[in-house]
Amino acid sequence: MMLLAKAALGFTGTLALAGAYTFHEGVIRVDVDEYRAGGTHVHMWMPAAAVPLAMHLVPQEHLREAAEHSREALPIAHAIVKELKKYPDVELVEVVDGQQHIQIGTRHGKLQIDVEAPDQNVHLLLPLSTLEDVTRQLEANAPGV
């Protein structure tokens, strides 16, 4: 019984540490609902820490290609994300047009984009630290770096 308890403590301790590490950067949420026949419904929820890890697994040439395509936008995106981290809870853009409502802002250090329209709803929640990691990794893979 004592051995079982020790094993349980060790297992759950490891699990808790792994869980804490996996979720230390927060969670990425993507919710897309299209209200039409055959419309898309995507509800994705994943630990943000998985993204930079997954990028290490992407073949180098694909990363270089992505960096090449977004060469002009990368420094801008990186600068925006870096600066946005100083403003963890702000509303940046709000557009209300009839039944459409778009909101872009930051909430608790995450970029939040909400689009509500009669035919579709899109909600994105992306940790700014993850976006910064991604832009940094892409910049590092840009040709000529």
């Binding site: 019984m1 100083k86 940046l92 853009v93 909430r107 994105l124």
Partner: protein
């Protein structure tokens, strides 16, 4: 002894269960995508915010609200290198627009006393350019079309100076933003038309009123 062992076993199992639940509890407390926490009205370190609000008076009542921290704009602008915008400076073909030397005109206005410099009154437009309390004021009333519109621009002279502080044929946007951040709360642009109302202003609040 056996009761002590049972106590240790139960404690170990309880600790294991608690550890197992911690990530779940942390996630449960994490904000959802549709969190309704409202942003604070005034930023903690008195950041300067540029606000743009466009309200359409049509049936759909379109409204656009943009809030940008000036510091963010100052840091991001130099990262944009596209077309005429490079390093936070925008190239203008030449400082002579319609045969008017802009730089010379700005210099003349800067050194001149307060007053009204340009007044044009016609059937189509009323235009007024003036300097008042170290602000450049431009007032345009468009009355030529079927729909009237009124434009008011009020820019601190320090911002105008900073804008023209770059080399020849360049406008220094970053310097202008920096100068703007030192200005007090002010309304910069106001457009009132039959279709839309546009307002651009500067204050320390991170939300529009």
């Amino acid at each position: 002894m056996s009761s002590k062992r049972g106590f240790y076993t139960r404690t170990a199992l309880a600790a294991a269960t608690t550890l197992l639940l911690i990530p779940g509890l942390a996630l449960a407390q994490a904000p959802s995508a549709k969190t309704s926490s409202a942003p604070s009205t005034t930023s903690a370190k008195q950041d300067r915010w540029l606000h743009v609000r466009v309200i359409s008076s049509d049936a759909k009542g379109e409204t656009v609200r943009v809030n940008v921290p000036l510091e963010l704009a100052e840091k991001v602008l130099p990262a944009i290198n596209h077309d005429r915008l490079h390093g936070g400076k925008v190239k203008i073909d030449c400082a002579h627009v319609n045969d008017v030397d802009l730089r010379a005109m700005v210099e003349a206005i800067r050194t001149a006393k307060d007053g009204e410099y340009v007044t044009v009154q016609s059937n189509e437009n009323d235009i007024r350019v003036a300097k008042q309390d170290n602000h450049l004021i431009v007032h345009v009333l468009d009355k030529g079309k079927s729909k009237k519109s009124q434009v008011e621009i009020k820019v601190p002279m320090k911002v105008v100076d900073a804008l023209f502080s770059a080399g020849k044929d360049e406008l220094d946007l970053v310097a202008a933003l920096h100068a703007l951040s030192a200005a007090g709360d002010t309304e910069l642009v106001s457009v009132k038309g039959d279709d839309n109302t546009v307002r651009v202003w500067l204050d320390s609040k991170n939300v529009t009123d």
